[in-house]
């Protein structure tokens, strides 16, 4: 495998899955062509201004910033369904329409979802 697509469709903070997907994507950077695709409830991770200090959890937005070279695609239809289209999003992420999102999945050697 030369490329891997991590699919995250779970909301951040409510579960360890978003943290797990970010870590898994990060360790393959450099070695493989890595894309993290935010889909369904996963797109909530794209909202700017997260501050998880009072929850005692790692700030997932900070992790996204820390791995600036990670390609993160945000599925636009999922954003729209969740009324997030007008919200301020983390600027390092890439919006992808349904076609672009699926093409990225299809052109990766494997898809891993958590």
């Amino acid at each position: 495998m030369k490329s891997v697509f991590y699919l995250l469709d779970t909301a951040p903070y409510g579960s360890e899955k978003a943290f797990g997907a970010l870590n898994a994507a990060a360790v393959s950077l450099g070695e493989m062509d890595v894309t993290l695709g935010l889909y369904g409830d996963g797109v909530y991770l794209a909202v700017a201004g997260q501050d998880s200090r009072k929850l005692g959890l790692p700030n997932l937005a900070d992790i996204l910033y820390a791995y600036g070279e990670l390609k993160v695609l945000v599925n636009e239809p999922s954003l729209i369904e969740r009324c997030l289209f007008g919200e301020t999003l983390i600027e390092t992420l890439e919006l992808a329409d349904e076609e672009e999102f699926f093409e990225a999945m299809e052109s990766s050697d494997c898809v891993i979802s958590f």
Binding site: M1, K2, E16, G20, V27, S28, E31, M32, C110, S113
Partner: protein, 126 residues
Amino acid sequence: MKTLTIVLTDGPYISEYAEIAYKLAGAALQQYKVNIFLYLDAVHIPKKSQNPSFFTNAGQLFSGLAKKGVVIRACARCAGARGYLPEEEVLQGNNCRDYFPGVRITSLYELSEMLSKSDRVISLSR
């Protein structure tokens, strides 16, 4: 020889994915190299002394796979969070007292290694 890697994220019993992974790995190991990476709750699967009265013992199933040559690794962060701590020494291919033989706790980088050397990858999660 081609290589298959299976990535698991769920614990035993609550989901059927440990059993499905066992069946997939069992079918594959006759012709292929098989890796299993245990991530998130899946690090509970190889715990010793499971005694499920109504289900098949998932730890024994995976221990059996390891004996047949399946490479099984558990994420160190996920395992540590859940109370499975690695020892310095590796005995019987195992570095955790709480685990069945043949399952080793390793860094998450091992997942990336496994993926890059695989021909196919299957991920199973709730």
